[in-house]
């Protein structure tokens, strides 16, 4: 125990912290400039000086570690003089252009000078001149305003790990610059903006757009983009979001944001929003009224249900909608439409993977705290780049790497290039072999755990096979995994959407089991976990309760007052295929764009065209909506209250920030249709839906918005994981495919985009305006391609034109293309084959030809 005394106040500390921190905890304010709670102490600005008894000079509170018995004073004549002179020094080269500076009003320098500075300066010489820079797409730089606190550089290097900016020059000639003097060419997280105390770095999208005192309201909410669910604050003026700012000391991102979270908020404010219901008449969509549209839908659904049965109806839910939306949606499908044909885009990855792992290892196996990644000794990353899919989770991996955690990467993970300890690149689409090899080696070294007989049996069976693989670094990887430290496995979906993805999943499950590892699934959309929890899957009721267990079903039926259809439903691609076969006649799509987001888009389009009736509920007229018979406007992320459940199963509150008269909550629309169909649903507020969820779902038992607000609700909340493991692990016949020398197309997850939404965010489009085909250096050379070349990329499915971008991190014969730009999504070029076990559409193995144009 350390006892110190600050300004006559006794402060007890249980560990040695800086005097600044000690003062902060005691509520004593010491002015600072270079210090920041997310950054290591620096000691450059010298503003935080304090007097310490028995020390000759003034000491900087931010660097001085409190020692027992220290007597400190934070106010005195000498201290005031020192602060005043520091501020004078800071102003001598400052342009004093506050009237035209965006930062005015929230500028730390301005505030400090106001409070501690002198009224007049004595510097009469010429100021340093540094030209402003507006060349970058997103950031402006005004190095005359810069106080060289280096917070931005430390943020970029030590926290974000992008290391895209640095101080160039020395002494008074120092200035912050990215490598290229014109473009930042970075991850555009904007965390440098957050920490800049002055107006030296500003974001162009916000330039001269508002003053901090013009904000009408600030709403604490969460990010709509990925499965991490970062907390932040949106600033609203005139019912439109003007800016997203971080929220320190809260949420698992603790003030950090990624490019999507910070700059992607414009989506809901887009001019292209659907404002009124559209109804197809004579082959064309026409504006209509809510009454007419809803009646039309209700009648049609009722008709089909009554004539063909519920099995002719299917629904696609959305991992971007709230828990409340999805809960109501599946209840509507099951109770009003009498079908279990409910699935979502998550089938392509997250939902399937999670289901597989839970079947083998038990429910909740992927419920691991993101921040806990830092405590691992070894992190194994495969199936994607966490820093692009779930950027803030990626930061945890980088932070772990800095602390000495070993990072092992299988395949490509560009954002971890400088952080990895080792990386192996399996032959094209041969991850399963590599993982099975690792699993058997781990089994040989450690033996079985004996807790899960089915798994044990299968692992033993596998080890009988002789596995010979010769890949650089594999032996080392095995040794690292067996070195005895705690292991975390971060699994991206690139290895899940495979036609034999279950082999990979099995191996990962086995390794997780034998090493007692923690498993993390990367999650692309904001509510993939919640979607599953709400029962938007064909064979599970909310809370992961299997439909086939009669007791469960009965309980829901009591609360829901009706009967749930017996038969399990179809999965996503099965729904599409059944549509094509005309077995499904009506499809209800809530907040999803299957025509763009599913492989073999032309096939999907054909299938949807053969429907009797297609309903799409969305905020934009998507490629799918264009085919619909009725399109209903929905509400976007910033327009509604509700909850999201993130990939670590944290339930978080989404708050309505703006009022958009034309928006309509998905759950409200659906309840109305349901009621019209005779199955009454009435929820005054989103909160009331959660109240019902909390009574029926064992995982969300007793949960309330008030509790969620505190930020620490992880399920099982007041309940327990319920589902046990399977006693038999299904296997499919092995089909081997030989891959030739050619190039194969794979989808890329782009940091700046997440699909249909982000393409409407202007700032994000500025950062990444065009789709690019990523290709490794070797193959680019072979094909004679240079950065920026225009090429046509063709597969059996079709062909599109894009630009080439050479990616030094790609070491195998894959080429990558994102699925973010209209008309040029990668899924239009991919075909699929359904994995017999997981029902995932496997999309690997599409050979491409690339021609320069």
């Amino acid at each position: 125990m350390i006892t110190i005394n600050i300004n006559e106040k006794e402060i007890r500390l249980d560990k040695p912290v800086t005097v600044l921190e000690a003062a902060r905890t005691a509520g004593i304010k010491i002015p600072t400039l270079c210090a920041h709670e997310l950054l290591e102490a620096y000691g450059g600005c010298r503003l935080c000086v304090v007097e310490v008894e028995r020390m000759l000079k003034l000491q900087t509170a931010c660097t001085l570690i409190a020692a027992d018995g220290m007597v400190i004073r934070t106010k005195s004549e000498a201290i005031s003089n020192a602060r005043r002179s520091i501020l004078e020094f800071l102003l001598i080269n400052h342009p004093l252009d506050c009237p035209v500076c965006d930062k005015a009003g929230e500028c730390e320098l301005q505030d400090l000078v106001n409070k501690y500075g002198a009224t007049a300066g004595r510097f009469k010489e010429e100021k340093r001149k540094v030209p402003e820079s507006h060349e970058d797409r997103i950031f402006t730089r005004n190095m005359e305003r810069c106080v060289l606190c280096t917070r931005c550089v430390r943020m970029c290097n030590d926290v974000q790990g992008a290391s895209a900016i640095n101080i160039v020059g020395r002494g008074g000639r120092s200035r912050m610059e990215p490598f290229s003097p014109t473009s930042f060419n970075c991850e555009y997280c904007g965390n440098c903006l957050t920490v800049c105390p002055v107006g030296a770095i500003l974001s162009r999208p916000h330039l001269h757009s508002l003053r901090p005192w013009q904000i009408d309201k600030e709403v604490e909410t969460i990010c709509p983009y990925c499965g991490v669910g970062c907390s932040f604050v949106v600033q609203v003026r005139d019912e439109s979001i003007k800016r997203v700012i971080p929220r320190f000391g809260f949420g698992l991102n603790n003030g950090l944001l990624c490019s999507r979270g910070r700059f992607g908020y414009e989506v809901t404010g887009s001019q292209e929003r659907i404002k009124v219901p559209l109804v197809r008449i004579d082959g064309k969509l026409h504006q209509s009224t809510w009454d007419y549209a809803l009646n039309l839908i209700a009648d049609k659904l009722k008709d089909i249900r009554d004539t063909h049965g519920g099995s002719a109806i299917a629904g696609i839910a959305s991992p971007r909608c709230t828990n409340e939306d999805n809960y109501v949606f599946q209840k509507f499908m099951r109770m009003a439409c009498k079908t279990n044909n409910i699935d979502s885009i998550s089938r392509i990855g997250f939902a399937s993977a999670q289901r597989y792992f839970e079947d083998l290892l038990g429910q909740g196996i992927t419920a691991n705290i993101i921040l806990g990644l830092k405590n691992s000794d070894i992190i194994l990353v495969l199936g994607g780049d966490p820093t692009a899919v779930n950027p803030i989770l990626g930061l945890s991996i980088r932070a772990a790497a800095r602390n000495g955690t070993k990072i092992a990467v299988i395949g490509n993970a560009k954002g971890l290039e400088r952080f990895k300890t080792l990386r192996i690149v399996p032959d094209i689409f041969k991850e399963a072999e590599v993982l099975e090899y690792l699993l058997t080696e781990i089994f040989r070294a450690k033996g079985l755990r004996g807790e899960k007989p089915a798994l044990d049996r299968k692992i033993e069976g596998l080890s009988g096979k002789s596995l010979k693989i010769d890949i650089a670094g594999l032996a080392e990887l095995k040794d690292v995994l067996l070195s005895g430290g705690s292991v975390s496995i971060v699994l991206g979906m690139d290895v899940v959407h495979r036609s034999r993805g279950h082999r990979i999943l099995f191996a990962v499950a086995g390794i997780t089991y034998l090493l007692e590892a923690r498993l993390y699934l990367l999650s692309e959309s904001s509510n993939e976990q919640g979607l599953i929890d709400m029962g938007c899957v064909p064979d599970m009721l909310p809370g992961g309760r299997p439909l086939v267990v009669g007791d469960f079903k009965k309980r829901f039926e009591t609360v829901w007052k009706g009967t749930i259809p017996e038969k399990g439903g179809l999965t996503l691609m099965e729904i599409i295929e059944a549509t094509k076969d005309k077995k499904i006649k009506v499809l209800y799509v809530m907040g999803e764009n299957p025509v763009f987001n599913l492989p073999n888009t032309s096939y999907v389009k054909e299938a949807l065209k053969s429907l009797d009736f297609l309903v799409v509920q969305d905020i934009f007229l998507t490629e799918t909506a264009e085919l619909a018979d009725v399109v209903l406007p929905a509400s976007g992320w910033s327009e509604k209250d509700g909850t999201y459940t993130n990939l670590e199963r944290r339930i978080q509150l989404l708050r309505k920030a703006v009022n958009t008269p034309s928006s309509a909550d998905d759950w409200r629309t659906i309840s109305e249709i349901s009621s019209k169909m005779g199955y009454e649903m009435h929820y005054p507020r989103a909160e009331d839906i959660m109240e019902e969820i909390a009574t029926v779902s064992p995982l969300y038992k007793d949960l309330t918005y008030d509790e969620i607000e505190k930020g620490n609700c992880l399920w099982p909340y007041n309940g327990e994981p319920l589902r046990g493991v399977v006693s038999e692990i299904p296997a499919a016949e092995e089909t081997f495919r030989e891959y030739k020398e050619g190039l194969y197309l794979a989808p890329e997850k782009i940091l700046f985009h997440s699909g249909t939404l982000s393409r409407r965010a202007l700032a994000l489009r500025k950062i990444c305006p065009e789709p690019t085909l990523k290709i490794g250096t070797n193959h680019a050379e072979k094909l004679g391609l240079k950065e920026g070349d225009n090429v046509s990329v063709s597969t059996a499915q079709g062909s599109i034109n894009v630009q080439v971008s050479i990616d030094t991190a790609i070491k195998d014969n894959k080429v990558l293309l994102g699925n973010n730009f209209e008309g040029r999504g990668v899924f239009s070029l991919l075909n699929y084959e359904i994995d017999p076990i997981t029902k995932v559409p496997g999309i690997e193995g599409c050979e491409v030809t690339i021609e320069k144009i």
């Binding site: 550089v153 290097n157 992008a162 290391s163 895209a164 900016i165 640095n166 101080i167 160039v168 020059g169 020395r170 610059e177 990215p178 490598f179 290229s180 290039e417 400088r418 030094t808």
Partner: protein, 154 residues
């Protein structure tokens, strides 16, 4: 990327230190030797060969005055004008270089023969004024001696 032989040279340097990052300054010297100066391309190559962020390479390189960020003449004159040399008349020599060779601090002559950099102390104070031409020390400088010495650098 660097040639194989240079990559080998860098590997040897890396091996001397517990952290290969220490090889940054030596590698910048190598890049300067190979490229003549530290262009963006040169720094990019350094960053690649050490797996370091480019901005960090540039930031570090720009901290040290002996790394050159623009093309230099064939011969680099580094003239000390710090106090001891100044007392002994170094400033006159700066004027002389300007008048005689049109050579000014941080400037390269149009024929690219010389570049001049003003140095802080180069440790030859007892025989100042002093200068380095490339890596050769010359001291006790006078106008005549400078002329004589520079004759040797074509």
């Amino acid at each position: 990327m660097f040639k194989e032989t240079i990559l080998k040279e860098i590997d040897d340097i890396k091996a001397r230190y517990p952290d290969p990052k220490s090889a940054l300054l030596p590698t910048l010297y190598i890049a300067q030797r190979e490229f003549g100066w530290l262009s963006h391309e040169a720094m990019h190559v350094v960053a690649q060969s050490l797996n370091l962020p480019e901005a960090m390479v540039r930031g570090t390189a720009s901290f040290y005055t002996m790394f050159k960020h623009k093309p230099m003449g064939r011969h680099l004159i580094q003239l000390c004008t710090n106090v001891s040399c100044m007392i002994l008349g170094a400033e006159r020599l700066v004027d002389f270089l300007k008048n005689r060779y049109s050579l000014e601090p941080n400037i390269t002559t149009t024929d690219r023969r010389f570049s001049l950099v003003i140095m802080e102390c180069i440790g030859a104070c007892d025989r100042g004024p002093a200068m380095l031409v490339n890596t050769d020390f010359h001291d006790s400088l006078t106008e005549e001696r400078i002329e004589e010495i520079l004759e040797k650098y074509k």
